[in-house]
Symmetry: none
Subunit: 153 residues, 2 copies
DNA sequence: TTGTTTCCCATGAAATCCCATGTTATCCCA
DNA sequence: TGGGATAACATGGGATTTCATGGGAAACAA
Protein backbone atom coordinates (compact mmCIF):
# COMPACT_ATOMS: atom_id res chain seq x y z
CA UNK A 1 0.00 0.00 0.00
CA UNK A 2 1.12 3.53 -0.74
CA UNK A 3 1.75 5.47 2.45
CA UNK A 4 3.63 8.52 3.62
CA UNK A 5 4.62 11.74 1.92
CA UNK A 6 7.96 12.65 0.37
CA UNK A 7 9.25 15.57 -1.64
CA UNK A 8 11.92 14.95 -4.27
CA UNK A 9 13.70 17.24 -6.69
CA UNK A 10 12.97 17.46 -10.40
CA UNK A 11 16.20 17.92 -12.33
CA UNK A 12 16.85 19.77 -15.58
CA UNK A 13 15.89 16.71 -17.57
CA UNK A 14 12.54 16.41 -15.87
CA UNK A 15 13.62 13.41 -13.83
CA UNK A 16 12.36 12.79 -10.32
CA UNK A 17 13.04 9.94 -7.91
CA UNK A 18 9.98 7.94 -6.96
CA UNK A 19 10.09 7.27 -3.20
CA UNK A 20 11.60 3.85 -2.55
CA UNK A 21 8.56 2.70 -0.64
CA UNK A 22 6.35 3.41 -3.64
CA UNK A 23 8.67 1.55 -5.94
CA UNK A 24 8.74 -1.60 -3.86
CA UNK A 25 4.96 -1.43 -3.83
CA UNK A 26 4.68 -1.83 -7.59
CA UNK A 27 7.56 -4.23 -8.12
CA UNK A 28 6.62 -7.54 -9.62
CA UNK A 29 4.21 -6.04 -12.13
CA UNK A 30 4.41 -6.54 -15.88
CA UNK A 31 6.46 -3.39 -16.27
CA UNK A 32 8.82 -1.64 -13.88
CA UNK A 33 7.12 1.70 -13.42
CA UNK A 34 3.89 3.53 -12.58
CA UNK A 35 0.80 4.96 -14.24
CA UNK A 36 0.29 8.71 -13.90
CA UNK A 37 -2.47 11.00 -15.18
CA UNK A 38 -3.76 14.49 -14.42
CA UNK A 39 -6.47 14.63 -11.78
CA UNK A 40 -9.74 15.82 -13.25
CA UNK A 41 -10.50 17.31 -9.86
CA UNK A 42 -7.70 19.86 -9.61
CA UNK A 43 -4.08 20.77 -10.23
CA UNK A 44 -2.32 17.60 -9.17
CA UNK A 45 -1.49 14.20 -10.63
CA UNK A 46 -2.94 10.82 -9.80
CA UNK A 47 -0.96 7.65 -9.97
CA UNK A 48 -0.78 3.99 -9.15
CA UNK A 49 0.55 0.62 -10.17
CA UNK A 50 -0.81 -2.15 -12.30
CA UNK A 51 -3.14 -3.35 -9.54
CA UNK A 52 -4.89 0.02 -9.41
CA UNK A 53 -5.42 0.12 -13.15
CA UNK A 54 -6.80 -3.40 -13.07
CA UNK A 55 -9.27 -2.33 -10.38
CA UNK A 56 -10.34 0.74 -12.33
CA UNK A 57 -10.82 -1.34 -15.43
CA UNK A 58 -12.99 -3.76 -13.58
CA UNK A 59 -15.10 -0.97 -12.08
CA UNK A 60 -15.52 0.79 -15.40
CA UNK A 61 -16.42 -2.38 -17.21
CA UNK A 62 -19.16 -2.98 -14.69
CA UNK A 63 -20.85 0.20 -15.92
CA UNK A 64 -23.28 0.42 -18.80
CA UNK A 65 -21.40 0.79 -22.12
CA UNK A 66 -23.48 3.82 -23.11
CA UNK A 67 -23.36 5.47 -19.71
CA UNK A 68 -21.92 8.95 -20.24
CA UNK A 69 -20.11 8.66 -16.97
CA UNK A 70 -18.41 5.52 -18.15
CA UNK A 71 -17.15 7.17 -21.29
CA UNK A 72 -15.97 10.19 -19.31
CA UNK A 73 -14.03 7.98 -16.93
CA UNK A 74 -12.51 5.88 -19.68
CA UNK A 75 -11.36 9.01 -21.42
CA UNK A 76 -10.11 10.80 -18.29
CA UNK A 77 -8.26 7.87 -16.80
CA UNK A 78 -7.16 5.40 -19.42
CA UNK A 79 -7.06 7.97 -22.17
CA UNK A 80 -5.01 10.40 -20.15
CA UNK A 81 -2.70 8.04 -18.26
CA UNK A 82 0.98 7.58 -19.11
CA UNK A 83 3.18 4.65 -18.28
CA UNK A 84 6.31 6.07 -16.73
CA UNK A 85 9.03 3.49 -16.21
CA UNK A 86 11.83 3.68 -13.70
CA UNK A 87 15.41 4.22 -14.75
CA UNK A 88 18.18 2.23 -13.08
CA UNK A 89 18.03 4.52 -10.05
CA UNK A 90 14.28 4.50 -9.59
CA UNK A 91 13.49 7.80 -11.31
CA UNK A 92 10.76 8.63 -13.79
CA UNK A 93 10.79 11.42 -16.36
CA UNK A 94 7.74 13.61 -15.97
CA UNK A 95 6.24 14.72 -19.30
CA UNK A 96 5.97 18.50 -19.56
CA UNK A 97 2.21 18.60 -19.84
CA UNK A 98 1.78 16.61 -16.64
CA UNK A 99 4.24 18.84 -14.78
CA UNK A 100 2.31 21.86 -16.04
CA UNK A 101 -1.04 20.52 -14.96
CA UNK A 102 0.25 20.11 -11.42
CA UNK A 103 2.26 23.33 -11.41
CA UNK A 104 5.45 21.42 -10.68
CA UNK A 105 8.63 23.44 -10.72
CA UNK A 106 11.81 21.97 -9.33
CA UNK A 107 10.16 19.80 -6.72
CA UNK A 108 7.39 17.23 -6.52
CA UNK A 109 5.57 15.87 -3.47
CA UNK A 110 4.43 12.25 -3.57
CA UNK A 111 1.48 11.50 -1.29
CA UNK A 112 0.60 7.88 -0.55
CA UNK A 113 -3.15 7.30 -0.19
CA UNK A 114 -3.42 3.55 0.17
CA UNK A 115 -4.26 2.02 -3.15
CA UNK A 116 -3.14 5.05 -5.14
CA UNK A 117 -1.01 8.15 -4.76
CA UNK A 118 -0.94 11.78 -5.79
CA UNK A 119 1.83 14.10 -6.98
CA UNK A 120 1.63 17.72 -5.85
CA UNK A 121 3.43 20.99 -5.98
CA UNK A 122 4.99 21.08 -2.50
CA UNK A 123 3.49 24.44 -1.52
CA UNK A 124 0.01 23.52 -2.68
CA UNK A 125 0.28 20.24 -0.86
CA UNK A 126 1.38 21.87 2.38
CA UNK A 127 -1.70 24.09 2.34
CA UNK A 128 -3.98 21.21 1.56
CA UNK A 129 -2.44 18.96 4.22
CA UNK A 130 -2.85 21.66 6.84
CA UNK A 131 -6.51 22.23 6.04
CA UNK A 132 -7.17 18.49 5.89
CA UNK A 133 -5.76 18.01 9.39
CA UNK A 134 -7.73 20.98 10.68
CA UNK A 135 -10.90 19.59 9.16
CA UNK A 136 -10.27 16.16 10.64
CA UNK A 137 -9.71 17.64 14.08
CA UNK A 138 -12.60 20.15 14.00
CA UNK A 139 -15.03 17.51 12.92
CA UNK A 140 -13.69 14.90 15.31
CA UNK A 141 -13.44 12.53 12.40
CA UNK A 142 -13.24 8.93 13.38
CA UNK A 143 -13.10 5.91 11.24
CA UNK A 144 -16.06 3.78 11.91
CA UNK A 145 -16.54 0.26 10.80
CA UNK A 146 -19.51 0.15 8.49
CA UNK A 147 -22.29 -1.78 10.11
CA UNK A 148 -22.56 -5.18 8.54
CA UNK A 149 -26.04 -5.73 10.00
CA UNK A 150 -27.98 -2.76 8.74
CA UNK A 151 -25.84 -1.69 5.82
CA UNK A 152 -27.86 1.51 5.62
CA UNK A 153 -26.36 3.85 3.02
CA UNK B 1 -4.16 -7.34 20.38
CA UNK B 2 -2.08 -4.42 21.63
CA UNK B 3 -2.20 -4.26 25.41
CA UNK B 4 -0.22 -2.80 28.29
CA UNK B 5 2.03 0.19 28.53
CA UNK B 6 5.81 0.32 28.33
CA UNK B 7 8.41 3.08 28.23
CA UNK B 8 11.61 2.56 26.28
CA UNK B 9 14.61 4.74 25.60
CA UNK B 10 15.29 6.60 22.36
CA UNK B 11 18.99 6.52 21.50
CA UNK B 12 21.10 9.06 19.66
CA UNK B 13 20.11 7.59 16.31
CA UNK B 14 16.44 7.91 17.10
CA UNK B 15 16.02 4.20 17.66
CA UNK B 16 13.57 2.79 20.16
CA UNK B 17 12.68 -0.78 21.04
CA UNK B 18 9.09 -1.69 20.31
CA UNK B 19 7.69 -3.70 23.26
CA UNK B 20 8.01 -7.40 22.53
CA UNK B 21 4.30 -7.96 22.98
CA UNK B 22 3.55 -5.43 20.26
CA UNK B 23 6.02 -7.03 17.91
CA UNK B 24 4.60 -10.51 18.21
CA UNK B 25 1.22 -8.97 17.50
CA UNK B 26 2.22 -7.84 14.03
CA UNK B 27 4.49 -10.72 13.09
CA UNK B 28 3.42 -12.73 10.11
CA UNK B 29 2.45 -9.73 8.05
CA UNK B 30 3.90 -8.86 4.65
CA UNK B 31 6.46 -6.63 6.25
CA UNK B 32 8.14 -6.85 9.64
CA UNK B 33 7.27 -3.54 11.22
CA UNK B 34 4.53 -1.08 12.13
CA UNK B 35 2.73 1.93 10.70
CA UNK B 36 3.01 5.16 12.69
CA UNK B 37 1.54 8.60 12.09
CA UNK B 38 0.95 11.81 14.07
CA UNK B 39 -2.44 12.00 15.71
CA UNK B 40 -4.42 14.88 14.25
CA UNK B 41 -6.06 15.21 17.62
CA UNK B 42 -3.05 16.11 19.74
CA UNK B 43 0.65 15.69 20.47
CA UNK B 44 1.04 11.94 20.30
CA UNK B 45 1.51 9.27 17.67
CA UNK B 46 -0.88 6.63 16.47
CA UNK B 47 0.20 3.24 15.27
CA UNK B 48 -0.82 -0.20 14.20
CA UNK B 49 0.03 -3.17 12.04
CA UNK B 50 -0.93 -4.16 8.54
CA UNK B 51 -4.32 -5.44 9.67
CA UNK B 52 -5.25 -2.03 11.05
CA UNK B 53 -4.26 -0.26 7.88
CA UNK B 54 -6.20 -2.74 5.78
CA UNK B 55 -9.27 -2.05 7.90
CA UNK B 56 -8.82 1.69 7.61
CA UNK B 57 -8.42 1.43 3.87
CA UNK B 58 -11.58 -0.58 3.58
CA UNK B 59 -13.50 1.90 5.72
CA UNK B 60 -12.21 4.89 3.78
CA UNK B 61 -12.91 3.33 0.42
CA UNK B 62 -16.49 2.79 1.47
CA UNK B 63 -16.90 6.58 1.66
CA UNK B 64 -17.82 8.83 -1.24
CA UNK B 65 -14.72 9.83 -3.24
CA UNK B 66 -15.60 13.52 -3.04
CA UNK B 67 -16.57 13.51 0.62
CA UNK B 68 -14.41 16.11 2.32
CA UNK B 69 -14.14 13.84 5.34
CA UNK B 70 -12.76 11.05 3.22
CA UNK B 71 -10.10 13.25 1.71
CA UNK B 72 -9.16 14.62 5.11
CA UNK B 73 -8.77 11.11 6.51
CA UNK B 74 -6.84 9.82 3.52
CA UNK B 75 -4.45 12.70 3.75
CA UNK B 76 -4.11 12.66 7.54
CA UNK B 77 -3.69 8.92 7.91
CA UNK B 78 -2.22 7.36 4.77
CA UNK B 79 -0.49 10.51 3.66
CA UNK B 80 1.05 11.04 7.08
CA UNK B 81 1.85 7.43 8.02
CA UNK B 82 5.31 5.90 7.86
CA UNK B 83 6.23 2.30 7.57
CA UNK B 84 8.79 1.71 10.29
CA UNK B 85 10.39 -1.70 10.05
CA UNK B 86 12.07 -3.52 12.90
CA UNK B 87 15.81 -4.01 12.95
CA UNK B 88 17.25 -7.36 14.02
CA UNK B 89 16.61 -6.45 17.65
CA UNK B 90 13.06 -5.24 17.28
CA UNK B 91 13.74 -1.52 17.18
CA UNK B 92 12.32 1.15 14.90
CA UNK B 93 13.90 4.46 14.01
CA UNK B 94 11.55 7.32 14.76
CA UNK B 95 11.70 10.07 12.12
CA UNK B 96 12.50 13.46 13.61
CA UNK B 97 9.23 15.07 12.64
CA UNK B 98 7.23 12.35 14.35
CA UNK B 99 9.32 12.63 17.51
CA UNK B 100 8.76 16.37 17.44
CA UNK B 101 5.03 16.10 17.00
CA UNK B 102 4.80 13.95 20.11
CA UNK B 103 7.38 15.93 22.08
CA UNK B 104 9.54 12.83 22.48
CA UNK B 105 12.94 13.39 23.98
CA UNK B 106 14.95 10.41 25.15
CA UNK B 107 12.00 8.21 26.07
CA UNK B 108 8.80 7.00 24.49
CA UNK B 109 5.75 5.38 26.08
CA UNK B 110 3.90 2.75 24.06
CA UNK B 111 0.24 2.40 25.02
CA UNK B 112 -1.65 -0.62 23.77
CA UNK B 113 -5.28 0.10 22.86
CA UNK B 114 -6.50 -3.12 21.34
CA UNK B 115 -6.48 -2.83 17.59
CA UNK B 116 -4.04 0.06 17.62
CA UNK B 117 -1.59 1.76 19.94
CA UNK B 118 -0.29 5.20 20.79
CA UNK B 119 3.17 6.56 21.46
CA UNK B 120 3.48 9.30 24.06
CA UNK B 121 5.94 11.47 25.85
CA UNK B 122 6.09 9.67 29.24
CA UNK B 123 5.21 12.77 31.27
CA UNK B 124 2.30 13.73 29.06
CA UNK B 125 1.06 10.18 29.21
CA UNK B 126 1.20 10.05 32.99
CA UNK B 127 -0.94 13.18 33.22
CA UNK B 128 -3.39 11.87 30.69
CA UNK B 129 -3.63 8.48 32.34
CA UNK B 130 -4.38 10.11 35.67
CA UNK B 131 -7.13 12.28 34.32
CA UNK B 132 -8.58 9.39 32.33
CA UNK B 133 -8.84 7.30 35.48
CA UNK B 134 -10.42 10.20 37.37
CA UNK B 135 -12.94 10.69 34.59
CA UNK B 136 -13.83 7.02 34.55
CA UNK B 137 -14.35 7.03 38.30
CA UNK B 138 -16.34 10.28 38.47
CA UNK B 139 -18.63 9.14 35.72
CA UNK B 140 -18.99 5.59 37.00
CA UNK B 141 -18.25 4.34 33.54
CA UNK B 142 -19.34 0.85 32.78
CA UNK B 143 -18.49 -1.40 29.94
CA UNK B 144 -21.50 -2.71 28.15
CA UNK B 145 -21.71 -5.47 25.62
CA UNK B 146 -23.24 -4.15 22.41
CA UNK B 147 -26.42 -5.81 21.33
CA UNK B 148 -25.72 -8.10 18.46
CA UNK B 149 -29.25 -7.86 17.18
CA UNK B 150 -29.70 -4.15 16.58
CA UNK B 151 -26.19 -3.01 15.70
CA UNK B 152 -27.53 0.43 14.85
CA UNK B 153 -24.72 2.56 13.49
C1' DT C 1 22.88 18.28 -37.76
C1' DT C 2 20.26 19.56 -33.53
C1' DG C 3 17.58 18.62 -29.90
C1' DT C 4 15.69 14.93 -27.09
C1' DT C 5 15.68 10.71 -24.68
C1' DT C 6 17.82 6.73 -22.61
C1' DC C 7 21.53 4.47 -20.43
C1' DC C 8 25.51 4.41 -17.39
C1' DC C 9 28.52 5.78 -13.65
C1' DA C 10 29.88 8.85 -9.58
C1' DT C 11 28.88 10.75 -4.96
C1' DG C 12 27.28 12.39 -0.34
C1' DA C 13 23.98 11.72 2.99
C1' DA C 14 21.04 8.94 5.36
C1' DA C 15 19.11 4.67 6.67
C1' DT C 16 20.01 -0.13 7.76
C1' DC C 17 22.54 -4.11 9.10
C1' DC C 18 25.53 -6.51 12.17
C1' DC C 19 27.89 -7.53 16.36
C1' DA C 20 28.58 -6.87 21.36
C1' DT C 21 26.73 -6.38 26.15
C1' DG C 22 24.13 -5.70 30.48
C1' DT C 23 19.84 -6.63 32.52
C1' DT C 24 15.64 -8.85 33.29
C1' DA C 25 12.58 -12.53 33.00
C1' DT C 26 11.82 -17.43 32.49
C1' DC C 27 12.85 -22.20 32.83
C1' DC C 28 14.37 -26.35 34.99
C1' DC C 29 15.95 -29.31 38.38
C1' DA C 30 17.06 -30.52 42.90
C1' DT D 1 10.16 -24.01 46.57
C1' DG D 2 14.76 -22.21 46.13
C1' DG D 3 18.41 -21.10 43.10
C1' DG D 4 21.35 -21.59 39.29
C1' DA D 5 21.14 -21.99 34.20
C1' DT D 6 19.13 -20.28 30.08
C1' DA D 7 16.76 -17.44 27.09
C1' DA D 8 14.56 -13.01 25.96
C1' DC D 9 14.84 -8.22 25.90
C1' DA D 10 16.62 -3.54 25.67
C1' DT D 11 20.56 -0.85 24.42
C1' DG D 12 25.09 0.92 22.27
C1' DG D 13 28.30 1.67 18.42
C1' DG D 14 30.73 0.69 14.05
C1' DA D 15 30.38 -0.97 9.28
C1' DT D 16 27.72 -1.48 5.18
C1' DT D 17 24.06 -0.60 2.01
C1' DT D 18 20.42 2.07 0.10
C1' DC D 19 18.71 6.21 -1.61
C1' DA D 20 18.35 10.56 -3.95
C1' DT D 21 20.79 13.31 -7.07
C1' DG D 22 24.06 15.08 -10.63
C1' DG D 23 26.31 14.77 -15.01
C1' DG D 24 28.20 12.65 -19.29
C1' DA D 25 27.92 9.44 -23.23
C1' DA D 26 25.33 6.92 -26.46
C1' DA D 27 21.04 6.02 -29.06
C1' DC D 28 17.20 8.13 -31.32
C1' DA D 29 14.19 11.44 -33.76
C1' DA D 30 13.27 15.49 -36.34
Amino acid sequence: MFVSTATNGIDAKGRVSVPAGFRSNVSGGPFDGIYVWPSFDGPWLEGGGQALMDDYLEMIEAMDPYDEARQALEQSIFGAARTLSFDANGRITLPKDLAEHAGLDGKATFVGLGRRFEIWNPDSHARRATSARAFAKENKLKLRRPSRMTEAG
